[in-house]
């Protein structure tokens, strides 16, 4: 292999570029990213950066002395993949020829239809989004967060600490029930009430009101929630439109094997845009967590460099963390298949506990609040004994 193009210059793309060099690839390496920025870390965008505790320099994912001998094409959007000619087409008309391609284009925040152009309405995915939201939060007022998922909850927590009046609106009866299950979703989302942040569940959003600037969120049950700022945190969808017609099979992101391979030879996909086959659960899953975007490129690059001959190691159980209201939340594994959840350490009421999810008696997932030490041990144990 003499030229590799990595498309997407964030955590998964940077990790892939590093894995390539670490695994001995010494050919041409081109990293293409549509944002103008060097790779930066997203988790702080809803936490320390939004709170103003850290600055932009602290977000950099590269140490000062790192040199991957790569050509960085930043501010350059890929618009197509020409599989016959092994080329990535860019929006400005350029073409990057490569015999190996790593797709790492991540995801973008979903928006509410019909809200574009209304001032005071935000989504949060990029540094530019975070800057804009941070500047508005600094003015104070009433914030309504639409969506009680992790990013929505973190924004609520940060804004609460900044002194805003915060309401969270969640369409499902219990927030976080998807990733954590009903019981624990209830426990974690109770953090809002602990701090006097209003949580309205089981009610959808009909629309927003306001002429040029938002002034309220209209709920489906007829209620109106006044708002100076609205954050829409209703999930993200994979950035894969540019691959349409390329022959790469798409299904909720790029459909990949358990080693990152796509339907095309010498094309692999990693990070939030990729739906890897998970042999533990027997389905394809798009895992949108930091650790997956950081670790999976090792396997995908091994696949790319070996022409698919490398044996993928057993995948580690997915792991993510969230920080809300000063509480460290950590989760590993798959809650979906569990038939029981038991608290094995501490007490949920104290916001310091560890709970184990089991299926037919076997641990399949673990959740902790403010218990990093025990959690670490459980996570290692889960990894050692896959369900």
């Amino acid at each position: 292999m003499r030229a590799v193009a990595v498309v997407g210059a964030s955590l998964a793309g940077l990790s892939a570029a590093r894995s390539l060099r670490k695994q001995g690839y010494d050919g041409r390496l081109v990293v293409i990213g549509d944002e103008p920025h060097r790779p930066y870390d997203r988790p702080p965008l809803s936490k320390e950066f939004l709170a103003g505790e850290i600055g932009e320099a602290d977000l950099a994912l590269e140490p000062d002395d790192e040199d991957l001998q790569a050509e960085w094409l930043l501010g350059a959007r890929a618009t197509g993949l020409d599989s016959a000619h092994r080329a990535v087409r860019l929006a400005d008309g350029r073409e990057v020829r490569a015999d190996g391609i790593v797709i790492a284009t991540g995801a973008t925040a979903r928006r509410l239809p019909g809200t574009d152009g209304l001032a005071g309405v935000h989504t949060l995915r990029t540094l530019d989004d975070a800057r804009a939201l941070r500047d508005e939060l600094a003015l104070g007022g009433r914030l309504v967060v639409i969506g009680g998922g992790f990013i929505g909850a973190e924004v609520a927590s940060t804004a609460y600490a900044l002194g805003l009046d915060v309401t969270v609106v969640e369409a499902a009866p219990t927030p976080l029930a998807g990733p954590l299950g009903e019981t624990m979703g209830g426990v974690v989302s109770a953090l809002h009430a602990d701090h006097g942040v209003r949580l309205l569940c089981g009610v959808g959003v009909k629309g927003l009101s306001g002429e040029t600037r938002v002034d309220a969120v209209l709920l489906e049950d007829g209620r109106t929630v006044p708002a100076d700022i609205v954050v829409v945190g209703v999930g993200a969808h994979p950035c894969v439109e540019w691959l349409q017609g390329s022959g790469v099979v798409l299904d909720n992101g790029v459909k990949c094997g358990a080693d990152g391979r796509t339907s095309l030879a010498a094309v692999v996909a990693v990070g939030d845009c990729a739906s890897w086959y998970d042999p533990h659960v027997g389905v394809h899953r798009r895992v949108e967590h930091w650790t997956g975007a950081r670790e999976r490129p090792d396997a995908a690059v091994a696949t790319l460099l070996s022409g698919g001959a490398a044996e993928p190691g057993a995948p580690r159980p997915p792991y993510f963390w969230s920080d809300q209201y000063g509480v460290k939340i950590q989760f590993a594994g798959h809650a979906a298949g569990a038939d029981s959840v038991t608290v094995e350490q501490g007490a949920p009421g104290d916001r310091s506990f560890l709970a184990v999810y089991r299926r037919a008696g076997h641990p399949v997932a673990v959740l902790a609040m403010n218990q990093p030490r025990v959690f670490m041990r459980w996570r290692k144990q889960l990894a050692a004994t896959p369900s």
Binding site: R18, D41, E48, E53, I54, D58, A60, L61, E62, P63, W290, T291, R294, Y319, W321, K328, Q330, P372, R373, F375, M376, R377, K380
Partner: protein
């Protein structure tokens, strides 16, 4: 030199957190070696004594950067800077740490907190 604990009180594979400022953690590896590094991860406020010890490396309990106990070097982000290492002596079965005189690489959140406190 600061006394830590008796070597027999620190089983292999375990860590001891020394509550000095900034805190130091002392690790007893599976091979029987003893190392001391700053306890606070250089990325954020995590205690490396809570981390996962494997060989001569400890993995941060929060975001999985790994630090080499011998050199303090970090393998990969999110942490970007090494942790300080401290000299360790074992005298008559007692572990002692000689704190480093170098400046610590504290995470921005802690460094800001320290800077904000009156001296």
């Amino acid at each position: 030199m600061i006394p830590v604990c008796l070597l027999v009180e620190l089983p292999r594979g375990e860590a001891y957190r020394l509550d000095i400022d900034p805190p130091v953690s002392v690790f007893h590896t599976d091979d029987g070696e003893v190392f001391a590094i700053d306890d606070t991860c250089t990325h954020q406020d995590a205690s490396l004594a809570d981390g996962w010890l494997e060989g001569c490396e400890v993995e941060c309990p929060l975001h999985a950067s790994k630090f080499d106990l011998r050199t303090g070097a970090v393998d990969a982000p999110p942490a970007k800077r090494p942790v300080r290492t401290h000299e360790v002596f074992v005298v008559d079965g007692m572990i002692y740490v000689q704190p480093s005189t170098e400046a610590p690489n504290l995470p921005p959140c802690i460094a800001a907190r320290l800077a904000g406190e009156p001296a």
